[in-house]
Protein backbone atom coordinates (compact mmCIF):
# COMPACT_ATOMS: atom_id res chain seq x y z
CA UNK A 1 0.00 0.00 0.00
CA UNK A 2 1.34 3.34 -1.06
CA UNK A 3 1.91 5.61 1.91
CA UNK A 4 -0.19 8.74 2.27
CA UNK A 5 0.56 11.15 5.06
CA UNK A 6 -0.69 14.57 5.98
CA UNK A 7 0.61 17.38 8.06
CA UNK A 8 -2.59 19.37 8.31
CA UNK A 9 -6.33 19.12 8.04
CA UNK A 10 -8.36 21.63 6.08
CA UNK A 11 -11.87 21.91 4.74
CA UNK A 12 -12.48 21.38 1.03
CA UNK A 13 -14.53 24.59 0.90
CA UNK A 14 -11.40 26.54 1.75
CA UNK A 15 -9.77 24.92 -1.28
CA UNK A 16 -12.66 26.31 -3.29
CA UNK A 17 -12.08 29.79 -1.87
CA UNK A 18 -8.41 29.74 -2.76
CA UNK A 19 -9.12 28.27 -6.18
CA UNK A 20 -11.77 30.87 -6.92
CA UNK A 21 -9.37 33.69 -6.15
CA UNK A 22 -6.76 32.12 -8.42
CA UNK A 23 -9.30 31.55 -11.22
CA UNK A 24 -10.33 35.19 -10.87
CA UNK A 25 -6.73 36.32 -11.21
CA UNK A 26 -6.21 34.22 -14.31
CA UNK A 27 -9.38 35.26 -16.12
CA UNK A 28 -11.12 38.64 -15.79
CA UNK A 29 -14.38 37.08 -16.98
CA UNK A 30 -14.66 34.97 -13.83
CA UNK A 31 -17.42 36.37 -11.58
CA UNK A 32 -18.84 35.06 -8.31
CA UNK A 33 -22.37 35.04 -6.95
CA UNK A 34 -23.49 34.07 -3.47
CA UNK A 35 -26.83 33.62 -1.73
CA UNK A 36 -25.98 35.00 1.72
CA UNK A 37 -23.30 32.46 2.62
CA UNK A 38 -20.09 34.26 1.78
CA UNK A 39 -18.25 33.12 4.92
CA UNK A 40 -19.35 29.50 4.62
CA UNK A 41 -18.28 29.38 0.98
CA UNK A 42 -14.93 31.06 1.72
CA UNK A 43 -15.50 33.72 -0.92
CA UNK A 44 -14.06 36.58 1.10
CA UNK A 45 -10.67 36.63 -0.59
CA UNK A 46 -12.24 36.83 -4.05
CA UNK A 47 -14.58 39.59 -2.90
CA UNK A 48 -11.71 41.58 -1.42
CA UNK A 49 -9.65 41.29 -4.58
CA UNK A 50 -12.49 41.73 -7.11
CA UNK A 51 -15.38 43.56 -5.43
CA UNK A 52 -16.85 44.63 -8.76
CA UNK A 53 -16.96 41.02 -9.94
CA UNK A 54 -18.87 39.73 -6.93
CA UNK A 55 -22.66 39.73 -6.68
CA UNK A 56 -24.46 39.30 -3.38
CA UNK A 57 -27.84 37.84 -4.38
CA UNK A 58 -29.43 37.50 -0.96
CA UNK A 59 -31.45 34.48 0.10
CA UNK A 60 -32.81 33.87 -3.38
CA UNK A 61 -31.13 30.87 -4.96
CA UNK A 62 -33.47 30.60 -7.94
CA UNK A 63 -32.70 34.18 -8.86
CA UNK A 64 -28.99 33.45 -8.42
CA UNK A 65 -29.05 30.60 -10.94
CA UNK A 66 -31.01 32.68 -13.44
CA UNK A 67 -28.69 35.66 -13.08
CA UNK A 68 -25.68 33.40 -13.52
CA UNK A 69 -27.17 31.95 -16.70
CA UNK A 70 -27.83 35.46 -18.02
CA UNK A 71 -24.31 36.60 -17.22
CA UNK A 72 -22.84 34.00 -19.56
CA UNK A 73 -24.45 36.04 -22.34
CA UNK A 74 -21.63 38.54 -22.44
CA UNK A 75 -18.95 35.92 -21.85
CA UNK A 76 -18.83 36.01 -18.08
CA UNK A 77 -17.95 32.77 -16.26
CA UNK A 78 -20.20 32.78 -13.18
CA UNK A 79 -19.42 30.72 -10.07
CA UNK A 80 -22.49 30.42 -7.84
CA UNK A 81 -21.99 29.56 -4.20
CA UNK A 82 -24.32 28.19 -1.57
CA UNK A 83 -24.91 24.95 0.35
CA UNK A 84 -25.31 21.84 -1.80
CA UNK A 85 -28.95 21.49 -0.83
CA UNK A 86 -29.80 25.01 -1.97
CA UNK A 87 -27.54 24.61 -5.02
CA UNK A 88 -29.49 21.68 -6.40
CA UNK A 89 -32.80 20.51 -4.98
CA UNK A 90 -34.07 24.00 -4.38
CA UNK A 91 -33.24 25.21 -7.88
CA UNK A 92 -33.42 22.08 -9.99
CA UNK A 93 -35.75 23.51 -12.59
CA UNK A 94 -33.76 26.73 -12.90
CA UNK A 95 -30.59 24.70 -13.48
CA UNK A 96 -32.40 22.38 -15.86
CA UNK A 97 -33.88 25.05 -18.12
CA UNK A 98 -31.67 28.12 -17.83
CA UNK A 99 -28.31 26.37 -17.41
CA UNK A 100 -28.22 22.76 -18.64
CA UNK A 101 -30.78 22.82 -21.46
CA UNK A 102 -29.53 26.26 -22.49
CA UNK A 103 -25.92 25.02 -22.43
CA UNK A 104 -24.68 27.89 -20.26
CA UNK A 105 -21.18 28.09 -18.86
CA UNK A 106 -22.23 28.29 -15.20
CA UNK A 107 -20.22 26.73 -12.37
CA UNK A 108 -22.55 25.63 -9.58
CA UNK A 109 -20.32 25.38 -6.53
CA UNK A 110 -21.84 23.58 -3.60
CA UNK A 111 -20.51 23.37 -0.08
CA UNK A 112 -21.72 21.47 2.99
CA UNK A 113 -22.70 18.44 0.91
CA UNK A 114 -23.68 15.20 2.58
CA UNK A 115 -23.79 14.04 6.18
CA UNK A 116 -20.60 15.81 7.22
CA UNK A 117 -22.46 19.10 7.35
CA UNK A 118 -23.23 17.73 10.81
CA UNK A 119 -25.33 19.33 13.49
CA UNK A 120 -27.71 21.28 11.24
CA UNK A 121 -29.35 17.97 10.40
CA UNK A 122 -31.22 16.46 7.51
CA UNK A 123 -32.85 19.65 6.16
CA UNK A 124 -29.38 20.75 5.11
CA UNK A 125 -27.63 17.40 4.51
CA UNK A 126 -28.37 16.69 0.90
CA UNK A 127 -27.62 13.14 -0.19
CA UNK A 128 -29.37 13.23 -3.57
CA UNK A 129 -27.50 16.03 -5.33
CA UNK A 130 -25.08 13.92 -7.37
CA UNK A 131 -27.98 11.95 -8.76
CA UNK A 132 -29.98 15.03 -9.67
CA UNK A 133 -27.07 16.76 -11.31
CA UNK A 134 -25.73 13.79 -13.23
CA UNK A 135 -29.13 13.21 -14.80
CA UNK A 136 -28.96 16.58 -16.54
CA UNK A 137 -27.65 16.19 -20.09
CA UNK A 138 -24.38 18.06 -20.58
CA UNK A 139 -23.74 18.62 -16.87
CA UNK A 140 -20.26 17.81 -15.55
CA UNK A 141 -20.35 16.54 -11.95
CA UNK A 142 -17.28 16.74 -9.70
CA UNK A 143 -16.90 15.80 -6.01
CA UNK A 144 -13.48 16.63 -4.62
CA UNK A 145 -11.57 14.82 -1.88
CA UNK A 146 -9.35 17.38 -0.14
CA UNK A 147 -8.25 21.00 -0.02
CA UNK A 148 -5.67 20.74 -2.78
CA UNK A 149 -7.88 18.83 -5.17
CA UNK A 150 -10.76 21.25 -4.62
CA UNK A 151 -8.50 24.20 -5.34
CA UNK A 152 -7.20 22.58 -8.51
CA UNK A 153 -10.68 21.59 -9.64
CA UNK A 154 -11.99 25.12 -9.14
CA UNK A 155 -9.23 26.49 -11.36
CA UNK A 156 -9.81 23.75 -13.94
CA UNK A 157 -13.55 24.27 -14.29
CA UNK A 158 -13.00 27.95 -15.01
CA UNK A 159 -10.99 26.88 -18.04
CA UNK A 160 -13.63 24.40 -19.20
CA UNK A 161 -16.54 25.68 -21.30
CA UNK A 162 -19.81 24.18 -20.08
CA UNK A 163 -22.05 23.74 -17.03
CA UNK A 164 -20.38 22.15 -14.01
CA UNK A 165 -21.59 21.01 -10.60
CA UNK A 166 -18.70 21.16 -8.11
CA UNK A 167 -19.45 19.49 -4.78
CA UNK A 168 -17.39 19.90 -1.64
CA UNK A 169 -17.87 19.99 2.09
CA UNK A 170 -17.70 21.56 5.48
CA UNK A 171 -15.42 19.54 7.81
CA UNK A 172 -11.67 19.72 8.09
CA UNK A 173 -10.10 16.57 6.70
CA UNK A 174 -6.54 15.47 5.89
CA UNK A 175 -4.78 17.29 3.06
CA UNK A 176 -3.06 14.48 1.20
CA UNK A 177 -3.06 15.26 -2.51
CA UNK A 178 -0.34 17.11 -4.42
CA UNK A 179 -0.54 20.88 -3.85
CA UNK A 180 0.67 21.51 -7.40
CA UNK A 181 -1.56 18.97 -9.10
CA UNK A 182 -3.14 19.65 -12.47
CA UNK A 183 -6.79 18.70 -12.24
CA UNK A 184 -8.05 16.84 -15.29
CA UNK A 185 -11.82 16.79 -15.57
CA UNK A 186 -13.03 13.27 -16.29
CA UNK A 187 -9.72 11.61 -15.51
CA UNK A 188 -9.68 9.23 -12.56
CA UNK A 189 -6.75 9.36 -10.12
CA UNK A 190 -4.94 6.14 -9.26
CA UNK A 191 -4.47 6.38 -5.50
CA UNK A 192 -3.07 2.89 -5.02
CA UNK A 193 -2.49 0.05 -7.46
CA UNK A 194 -3.69 -3.34 -6.29
CA UNK A 195 -5.05 -6.61 -7.61
CA UNK A 196 -7.69 -8.01 -5.25
CA UNK A 197 -10.48 -5.44 -5.33
CA UNK A 198 -11.21 -2.07 -6.92
CA UNK A 199 -12.33 0.60 -4.49
CA UNK A 200 -13.80 3.57 -6.35
CA UNK A 201 -14.15 6.49 -3.96
CA UNK A 202 -15.21 10.09 -4.28
CA UNK A 203 -15.17 13.15 -2.01
CA UNK A 204 -14.62 12.67 1.69
CA UNK A 205 -14.65 8.89 1.19
CA UNK A 206 -11.25 8.90 -0.52
CA UNK A 207 -9.32 9.36 2.71
CA UNK A 208 -11.51 6.72 4.34
CA UNK A 209 -10.67 4.38 1.45
CA UNK A 210 -6.96 4.99 2.07
CA UNK A 211 -7.44 4.16 5.76
CA UNK A 212 -9.32 1.03 4.72
CA UNK A 213 -6.58 0.15 2.24
CA UNK A 214 -4.00 0.20 5.02
CA UNK A 215 -6.09 -2.09 7.20
CA UNK A 216 -6.71 -4.40 4.25
CA UNK A 217 -2.99 -4.53 3.50
CA UNK A 218 -2.39 -5.74 7.06
CA UNK A 219 -4.92 -8.47 6.37
CA UNK A 220 -3.09 -9.43 3.20
CA UNK A 221 -5.63 -7.89 0.81
CA UNK A 222 -4.13 -5.81 -1.98
CA UNK A 223 -6.75 -3.15 -2.74
CA UNK A 224 -6.68 -0.92 -5.78
CA UNK A 225 -7.99 2.49 -4.81
CA UNK A 226 -9.14 4.87 -7.50
CA UNK A 227 -10.45 8.36 -6.88
CA UNK A 228 -13.36 9.15 -9.16
CA UNK A 229 -13.49 12.91 -8.64
CA UNK A 230 -15.46 13.42 -11.84
CA UNK A 231 -18.63 11.36 -11.57
CA UNK A 232 -19.79 12.65 -14.95
CA UNK A 233 -18.31 12.16 -17.43
CA UNK A 234 -17.13 8.94 -15.80
CA UNK A 235 -13.62 7.73 -16.65
CA UNK A 236 -14.96 4.48 -18.06
CA UNK A 237 -11.60 3.32 -19.29
CA UNK A 238 -10.04 3.58 -15.83
CA UNK A 239 -12.92 1.71 -14.23
CA UNK A 240 -12.95 -1.10 -16.80
CA UNK A 241 -9.16 -1.45 -16.76
CA UNK A 242 -9.14 -1.81 -12.99
CA UNK A 243 -12.06 -4.23 -12.87
CA UNK A 244 -10.49 -6.41 -15.56
CA UNK A 245 -7.62 -6.89 -13.11
CA UNK A 246 -9.50 -7.20 -9.79
CA UNK A 247 -12.87 -8.71 -10.72
CA UNK A 248 -14.82 -7.01 -7.94
CA UNK A 249 -15.80 -3.53 -6.85
CA UNK A 250 -16.58 -1.42 -3.82
CA UNK A 251 -17.91 2.05 -4.51
CA UNK A 252 -17.75 4.66 -1.75
CA UNK A 253 -19.60 7.96 -1.64
CA UNK A 254 -21.22 10.30 0.86
CA UNK A 255 -24.54 10.14 -0.97
CA UNK A 256 -27.69 8.09 -1.24
CA UNK A 257 -26.90 4.69 -2.75
CA UNK A 258 -29.59 5.51 -5.31
CA UNK A 259 -28.34 7.62 -8.18
CA UNK A 260 -24.78 8.27 -7.12
CA UNK A 261 -21.30 7.13 -8.12
CA UNK A 262 -22.05 3.48 -7.31
CA UNK A 263 -24.92 3.44 -9.77
CA UNK A 264 -22.81 5.04 -12.50
CA UNK A 265 -20.19 2.32 -12.05
CA UNK A 266 -22.79 -0.45 -11.86
CA UNK A 267 -24.39 0.75 -15.08
CA UNK A 268 -21.05 0.72 -16.85
CA UNK A 269 -20.14 -2.73 -15.54
CA UNK A 270 -23.46 -4.39 -16.24
CA UNK A 271 -23.06 -3.43 -19.88
CA UNK A 272 -19.43 -4.42 -20.20
CA UNK A 273 -18.19 -6.81 -17.54
CA UNK A 274 -20.62 -7.68 -14.75
CA UNK A 275 -18.75 -8.34 -11.49
CA UNK A 276 -19.78 -8.34 -7.82
CA UNK A 277 -20.14 -4.83 -6.40
CA UNK A 278 -20.78 -3.53 -2.88
CA UNK A 279 -22.00 -0.02 -2.16
CA UNK A 280 -20.70 2.19 0.59
CA UNK A 281 -23.39 4.87 0.62
CA UNK A 282 -26.34 6.05 2.66
CA UNK A 283 -29.05 3.41 2.44
CA UNK A 284 -31.87 5.48 1.00
CA UNK A 285 -32.51 7.58 4.07
CA UNK A 286 -32.19 11.13 5.31
CA UNK A 287 -29.49 12.10 7.78
CA UNK A 288 -29.86 13.70 11.22
CA UNK A 289 -28.03 15.95 13.66
CA UNK A 290 -24.69 14.85 15.06
CA UNK A 291 -21.00 15.39 14.59
CA UNK A 292 -19.60 14.45 11.19
CA UNK A 293 -17.70 11.49 12.65
CA UNK A 294 -20.72 10.19 14.52
CA UNK A 295 -22.87 10.47 11.41
CA UNK A 296 -20.39 8.79 9.09
CA UNK A 297 -20.16 5.91 11.56
CA UNK A 298 -23.90 5.61 12.15
CA UNK A 299 -24.74 5.67 8.43
CA UNK A 300 -22.08 3.15 7.49
CA UNK A 301 -19.60 5.42 5.78
CA UNK A 302 -16.48 4.68 7.81
CA UNK A 303 -13.26 2.93 6.86
CA UNK A 304 -14.40 -0.16 8.81
CA UNK A 305 -17.45 -0.33 6.57
CA UNK A 306 -15.22 -0.25 3.51
CA UNK A 307 -13.07 -3.06 4.94
CA UNK A 308 -16.16 -5.18 5.59
CA UNK A 309 -17.54 -4.45 2.13
CA UNK A 310 -14.25 -5.51 0.57
CA UNK A 311 -14.35 -8.79 2.46
CA UNK A 312 -17.93 -9.42 1.35
CA UNK A 313 -17.26 -8.61 -2.27
CA UNK A 314 -14.12 -10.75 -2.45
CA UNK A 315 -16.10 -13.66 -0.98
CA UNK A 316 -18.77 -13.16 -3.65
CA UNK A 317 -16.10 -13.08 -6.35
CA UNK A 318 -14.59 -16.33 -5.07
CA UNK A 319 -18.00 -18.01 -5.03
CA UNK A 320 -18.84 -16.97 -8.57
Amino acid sequence: MKQYTYTEKKDTRSGFGVGLLEAGKRNPNVVALCADLVGSLKMDAFIKEFPERFFQIGIAEANMIGIAAGMTIGEKIPFTGTFANFSTGRVYDQIRQSVAYSGKNVKICASHAGLTLGEDGATHQILEDIGMMKMLPGMTVINTCDFNQTKAATIAIAEYDGPVYLRFGRPVIPVFTDPDQKFEIGKAWMVNEGKDVSIFATGHMVWKAIEAGEKLAEMGIDAEIINIHTIKPLDEEAVLRSVAKTGCVVSAEEHNRLGGLGDSIAQLLVKNTPVPQEYIAVDDSFGESGTPDQLMKKYGLDSENIVAAVQRVIARKQKA
Partner: protein, 281 residues
Protein backbone atom coordinates in the same frame (compact mmCIF):
# COMPACT_ATOMS: atom_id res chain seq x y z
CA UNK B 1 -36.04 58.34 -35.71
CA UNK B 2 -39.27 58.82 -37.60
CA UNK B 3 -41.68 55.95 -37.37
CA UNK B 4 -43.77 54.55 -40.17
CA UNK B 5 -46.65 53.30 -38.05
CA UNK B 6 -48.52 51.99 -41.07
CA UNK B 7 -45.55 49.88 -42.06
CA UNK B 8 -45.29 48.39 -38.57
CA UNK B 9 -49.00 47.67 -38.51
CA UNK B 10 -48.73 45.90 -41.84
CA UNK B 11 -45.97 43.69 -40.48
CA UNK B 12 -48.12 42.97 -37.43
CA UNK B 13 -50.98 41.73 -39.60
CA UNK B 14 -48.65 39.35 -41.39
CA UNK B 15 -47.19 38.13 -38.10
CA UNK B 16 -50.71 37.40 -36.86
CA UNK B 17 -51.33 35.40 -40.02
CA UNK B 18 -48.12 33.49 -39.36
CA UNK B 19 -49.18 32.75 -35.79
CA UNK B 20 -52.56 31.25 -36.61
CA UNK B 21 -51.14 29.31 -39.55
CA UNK B 22 -48.25 27.92 -37.46
CA UNK B 23 -50.50 26.85 -34.62
CA UNK B 24 -53.06 25.40 -37.03
CA UNK B 25 -50.43 23.42 -38.95
CA UNK B 26 -49.25 21.48 -35.90
CA UNK B 27 -52.59 21.64 -34.08
CA UNK B 28 -50.91 22.83 -30.91
CA UNK B 29 -49.32 25.90 -29.42
CA UNK B 30 -50.46 29.15 -27.86
CA UNK B 31 -52.22 31.62 -30.15
CA UNK B 32 -53.92 33.84 -27.55
CA UNK B 33 -50.93 35.48 -25.89
CA UNK B 34 -49.02 35.47 -29.17
CA UNK B 35 -51.69 37.51 -30.92
CA UNK B 36 -52.01 39.84 -27.96
CA UNK B 37 -48.28 40.61 -27.91
CA UNK B 38 -47.79 40.87 -31.67
CA UNK B 39 -47.73 44.66 -31.82
CA UNK B 40 -45.15 44.80 -29.03
CA UNK B 41 -42.86 42.32 -30.78
CA UNK B 42 -43.12 44.11 -34.11
CA UNK B 43 -42.38 47.47 -32.52
CA UNK B 44 -39.46 45.98 -30.62
CA UNK B 45 -37.73 44.21 -33.50
CA UNK B 46 -38.63 46.57 -36.33
CA UNK B 47 -38.05 49.84 -34.53
CA UNK B 48 -36.89 49.84 -30.90
CA UNK B 49 -34.08 47.28 -30.53
CA UNK B 50 -30.63 48.12 -31.76
CA UNK B 51 -29.81 44.64 -32.92
CA UNK B 52 -27.19 43.37 -35.30
CA UNK B 53 -28.12 41.59 -38.49
CA UNK B 54 -25.86 38.63 -37.74
CA UNK B 55 -26.77 36.64 -34.66
CA UNK B 56 -24.20 36.29 -31.93
CA UNK B 57 -24.95 34.43 -28.70
CA UNK B 58 -22.91 36.89 -26.64
CA UNK B 59 -24.89 39.85 -27.93
CA UNK B 60 -22.17 42.36 -27.17
CA UNK B 61 -22.82 45.90 -28.33
CA UNK B 62 -26.48 45.34 -29.13
CA UNK B 63 -29.78 45.40 -27.29
CA UNK B 64 -30.97 42.01 -26.09
CA UNK B 65 -34.44 40.59 -25.69
CA UNK B 66 -35.49 37.65 -23.50
CA UNK B 67 -38.91 36.04 -23.63
CA UNK B 68 -39.73 34.77 -20.15
CA UNK B 69 -43.21 33.44 -20.95
CA UNK B 70 -41.85 31.09 -23.58
CA UNK B 71 -45.21 29.63 -24.57
CA UNK B 72 -45.93 32.62 -26.78
CA UNK B 73 -43.09 31.41 -28.99
CA UNK B 74 -45.13 31.65 -32.25
CA UNK B 75 -45.07 35.45 -32.22
CA UNK B 76 -41.36 35.53 -31.43
CA UNK B 77 -40.47 33.02 -34.13
CA UNK B 78 -42.50 34.89 -36.73
CA UNK B 79 -40.97 38.24 -35.82
CA UNK B 80 -37.44 36.79 -35.73
CA UNK B 81 -37.94 35.29 -39.18
CA UNK B 82 -39.60 38.41 -40.55
CA UNK B 83 -36.72 40.54 -39.26
CA UNK B 84 -34.13 38.34 -40.94
CA UNK B 85 -32.78 35.98 -38.29
CA UNK B 86 -33.78 32.90 -40.30
CA UNK B 87 -35.85 31.95 -43.32
CA UNK B 88 -39.60 32.36 -42.93
CA UNK B 89 -40.01 28.93 -44.55
CA UNK B 90 -38.71 27.42 -41.32
CA UNK B 91 -41.87 28.60 -39.55
CA UNK B 92 -43.64 25.68 -41.25
CA UNK B 93 -41.64 23.31 -39.02
CA UNK B 94 -42.99 24.79 -35.75
CA UNK B 95 -43.47 22.06 -33.11
CA UNK B 96 -42.68 19.32 -35.62
CA UNK B 97 -40.05 16.62 -35.28
CA UNK B 98 -36.42 17.53 -36.17
CA UNK B 99 -37.13 21.27 -36.08
CA UNK B 100 -35.17 24.18 -34.64
CA UNK B 101 -38.52 25.88 -34.06
CA UNK B 102 -39.34 24.07 -30.83
CA UNK B 103 -42.62 24.32 -28.95
CA UNK B 104 -40.90 26.55 -26.44
CA UNK B 105 -37.76 28.55 -27.25
CA UNK B 106 -34.54 26.53 -27.05
CA UNK B 107 -30.89 27.29 -27.64
CA UNK B 108 -29.47 23.86 -28.27
CA UNK B 109 -31.13 23.81 -31.68
CA UNK B 110 -29.12 26.96 -32.48
CA UNK B 111 -32.02 28.96 -33.79
CA UNK B 112 -30.69 32.49 -34.35
CA UNK B 113 -32.27 35.03 -32.01
CA UNK B 114 -32.75 32.70 -29.04
CA UNK B 115 -30.20 33.10 -26.26
CA UNK B 116 -31.83 31.08 -23.49
CA UNK B 117 -34.50 28.44 -23.16
CA UNK B 118 -37.81 29.47 -21.62
CA UNK B 119 -41.10 27.80 -20.97
CA UNK B 120 -40.93 26.91 -17.32
CA UNK B 121 -42.18 30.25 -16.05
CA UNK B 122 -40.60 32.87 -13.85
CA UNK B 123 -36.97 32.58 -14.89
CA UNK B 124 -36.55 35.25 -17.56
CA UNK B 125 -36.31 38.29 -15.31
CA UNK B 126 -33.33 36.78 -13.49
CA UNK B 127 -31.73 35.94 -16.83
CA UNK B 128 -32.32 39.47 -18.06
CA UNK B 129 -30.73 40.87 -14.91
CA UNK B 130 -27.70 38.63 -15.47
CA UNK B 131 -27.31 39.80 -19.05
CA UNK B 132 -27.70 43.41 -17.91
CA UNK B 133 -25.01 42.96 -15.24
CA UNK B 134 -22.73 41.44 -17.87
CA UNK B 135 -23.24 44.50 -20.05
CA UNK B 136 -22.26 46.76 -17.18
CA UNK B 137 -19.08 44.76 -16.56
CA UNK B 138 -18.31 44.92 -20.28
CA UNK B 139 -18.94 48.71 -20.32
CA UNK B 140 -21.59 48.00 -22.95
CA UNK B 141 -24.29 50.69 -22.79
CA UNK B 142 -26.89 48.83 -24.84
CA UNK B 143 -30.06 47.63 -23.13
CA UNK B 144 -31.79 44.43 -22.07
CA UNK B 145 -35.52 43.92 -22.63
CA UNK B 146 -37.64 41.14 -21.16
CA UNK B 147 -41.28 40.12 -21.56
CA UNK B 148 -43.39 38.34 -18.96
CA UNK B 149 -46.97 37.17 -18.71
CA UNK B 150 -49.13 38.56 -15.93
CA UNK B 151 -50.03 35.04 -14.78
CA UNK B 152 -46.30 34.38 -14.68
CA UNK B 153 -46.00 36.92 -11.87
CA UNK B 154 -47.48 34.25 -9.62
CA UNK B 155 -44.06 32.56 -9.70
CA UNK B 156 -41.95 33.46 -6.66
CA UNK B 157 -38.69 33.81 -8.57
CA UNK B 158 -40.09 36.90 -10.32
CA UNK B 159 -40.25 38.69 -7.00
CA UNK B 160 -36.75 37.59 -6.01
CA UNK B 161 -35.59 39.23 -9.21
CA UNK B 162 -37.88 42.22 -8.73
CA UNK B 163 -36.24 42.84 -5.35
CA UNK B 164 -32.72 42.38 -6.66
CA UNK B 165 -32.75 44.73 -9.65
CA UNK B 166 -33.54 48.05 -7.90
CA UNK B 167 -31.25 47.24 -4.96
CA UNK B 168 -28.40 46.73 -7.40
CA UNK B 169 -29.35 49.62 -9.71
CA UNK B 170 -29.80 47.40 -12.74
CA UNK B 171 -30.92 50.41 -14.77
CA UNK B 172 -30.15 49.00 -18.22
CA UNK B 173 -33.12 46.67 -18.00
CA UNK B 174 -36.65 47.24 -19.33
CA UNK B 175 -39.09 44.52 -18.23
CA UNK B 176 -42.49 44.46 -19.89
CA UNK B 177 -45.45 42.61 -18.42
CA UNK B 178 -48.23 41.48 -20.69
CA UNK B 179 -51.29 42.34 -18.64
CA UNK B 180 -54.05 40.49 -20.46
CA UNK B 181 -55.77 39.32 -17.30
CA UNK B 182 -55.97 35.72 -18.47
CA UNK B 183 -54.28 32.46 -17.61
CA UNK B 184 -54.98 28.82 -18.44
CA UNK B 185 -57.61 28.19 -15.79
CA UNK B 186 -59.42 31.49 -16.21
CA UNK B 187 -58.97 35.17 -15.41
CA UNK B 188 -56.06 36.13 -13.19
CA UNK B 189 -58.64 37.84 -11.03
CA UNK B 190 -60.31 34.52 -10.34
CA UNK B 191 -57.28 32.18 -10.28
CA UNK B 192 -54.93 34.23 -8.12
CA UNK B 193 -55.41 37.95 -8.26
CA UNK B 194 -52.37 40.10 -8.91
CA UNK B 195 -53.66 43.13 -7.05
CA UNK B 196 -52.35 46.56 -7.87
CA UNK B 197 -49.43 45.76 -10.13
CA UNK B 198 -48.32 49.37 -10.51
CA UNK B 199 -48.16 49.83 -6.75
CA UNK B 200 -46.39 46.49 -6.34
CA UNK B 201 -43.63 47.20 -8.84
CA UNK B 202 -43.21 50.74 -7.56
CA UNK B 203 -42.96 49.45 -4.01
CA UNK B 204 -40.16 47.16 -5.14
CA UNK B 205 -38.35 50.22 -6.51
CA UNK B 206 -38.99 50.07 -10.23
CA UNK B 207 -39.75 52.99 -12.51
CA UNK B 208 -43.16 51.90 -13.80
CA UNK B 209 -44.74 52.90 -17.11
CA UNK B 210 -48.04 51.85 -18.62
CA UNK B 211 -48.97 51.34 -22.24
CA UNK B 212 -51.65 50.03 -24.54
CA UNK B 213 -50.04 46.97 -26.06
CA UNK B 214 -52.43 46.88 -28.97
CA UNK B 215 -51.84 50.48 -30.10
CA UNK B 216 -48.67 50.75 -32.18
CA UNK B 217 -48.39 54.49 -31.64
CA UNK B 218 -48.59 54.11 -27.88
CA UNK B 219 -46.13 51.20 -27.85
CA UNK B 220 -43.53 53.22 -29.73
CA UNK B 221 -44.07 56.23 -27.48
CA UNK B 222 -43.74 54.28 -24.25
CA UNK B 223 -40.80 52.12 -25.34
CA UNK B 224 -38.93 55.26 -26.44
CA UNK B 225 -39.79 56.86 -23.11
CA UNK B 226 -38.52 53.76 -21.31
CA UNK B 227 -35.24 53.91 -23.22
CA UNK B 228 -34.84 57.56 -22.22
CA UNK B 229 -35.21 56.52 -18.58
CA UNK B 230 -32.46 53.91 -18.78
CA UNK B 231 -29.12 54.43 -17.05
CA UNK B 232 -30.72 56.59 -14.40
CA UNK B 233 -30.37 54.34 -11.38
CA UNK B 234 -33.57 52.32 -11.58
CA UNK B 235 -34.83 49.37 -13.62
CA UNK B 236 -37.91 50.07 -15.71
CA UNK B 237 -41.12 48.05 -15.75
CA UNK B 238 -43.82 48.51 -18.37
CA UNK B 239 -47.32 47.30 -17.61
CA UNK B 240 -48.66 46.54 -21.06
CA UNK B 241 -52.41 46.14 -21.38
CA UNK B 242 -53.29 43.73 -24.19
CA UNK B 243 -56.22 41.72 -25.40
CA UNK B 244 -55.44 38.06 -25.54
CA UNK B 245 -56.13 36.92 -29.10
CA UNK B 246 -56.07 40.48 -30.48
CA UNK B 247 -56.73 40.66 -34.22
CA UNK B 248 -58.97 37.62 -34.46
CA UNK B 249 -62.43 38.55 -33.18
CA UNK B 250 -63.49 35.15 -31.91
CA UNK B 251 -60.24 34.64 -30.02
CA UNK B 252 -60.18 38.02 -28.30
CA UNK B 253 -60.36 38.52 -24.57
CA UNK B 254 -60.81 34.89 -23.55
CA UNK B 255 -58.49 32.49 -21.78
CA UNK B 256 -59.99 29.72 -23.93
CA UNK B 257 -57.51 30.45 -26.72
CA UNK B 258 -54.48 30.39 -24.41
CA UNK B 259 -53.27 27.05 -25.66
CA UNK B 260 -55.74 25.81 -28.25
CA UNK B 261 -55.22 25.57 -32.01
CA UNK B 262 -57.89 26.62 -34.52
CA UNK B 263 -59.48 23.98 -36.75
CA UNK B 264 -59.69 24.38 -40.54
CA UNK B 265 -62.86 26.50 -40.46
CA UNK B 266 -61.56 28.67 -37.64
CA UNK B 267 -58.29 29.17 -39.48
CA UNK B 268 -60.16 30.29 -42.60
CA UNK B 269 -62.28 32.67 -40.53
CA UNK B 270 -59.17 34.08 -38.82
CA UNK B 271 -57.27 34.59 -42.06
CA UNK B 272 -60.24 36.46 -43.54
CA UNK B 273 -59.67 39.05 -40.81
CA UNK B 274 -55.93 39.20 -41.47
CA UNK B 275 -55.30 39.99 -45.09
CA UNK B 276 -51.75 39.15 -46.12
CA UNK B 277 -49.49 42.19 -46.20
CA UNK B 278 -46.17 40.43 -46.83
CA UNK B 279 -45.84 37.03 -48.40
CA UNK B 280 -47.07 34.02 -46.47
CA UNK B 281 -44.25 31.65 -45.58
Amino acid sequence: MSVDIQKLENVAVQVRRDIVRMVHACQSGHPGGSLGCTDFFVALYFHVLNHKAAFNMDGKGEDLFFLSNGHISPVWYSVLARSGYFETSELATFRKINSRVQGHPATHEHLPGIRIASGSLGQGLSVGIGAALSKKLNLDTSLVFTLHGDGELQEGQIWEAAMFAPHNKVDNLIATIDVNGQQIDGSTERVLSLGNLKAKWEAFGWDVLEMNGNDMQDIIRVLELAKSKAHKGRPIAILMQTNMGHGVDFMMGSHKWHGVAPNDDQLAAALLQLESTLEDY
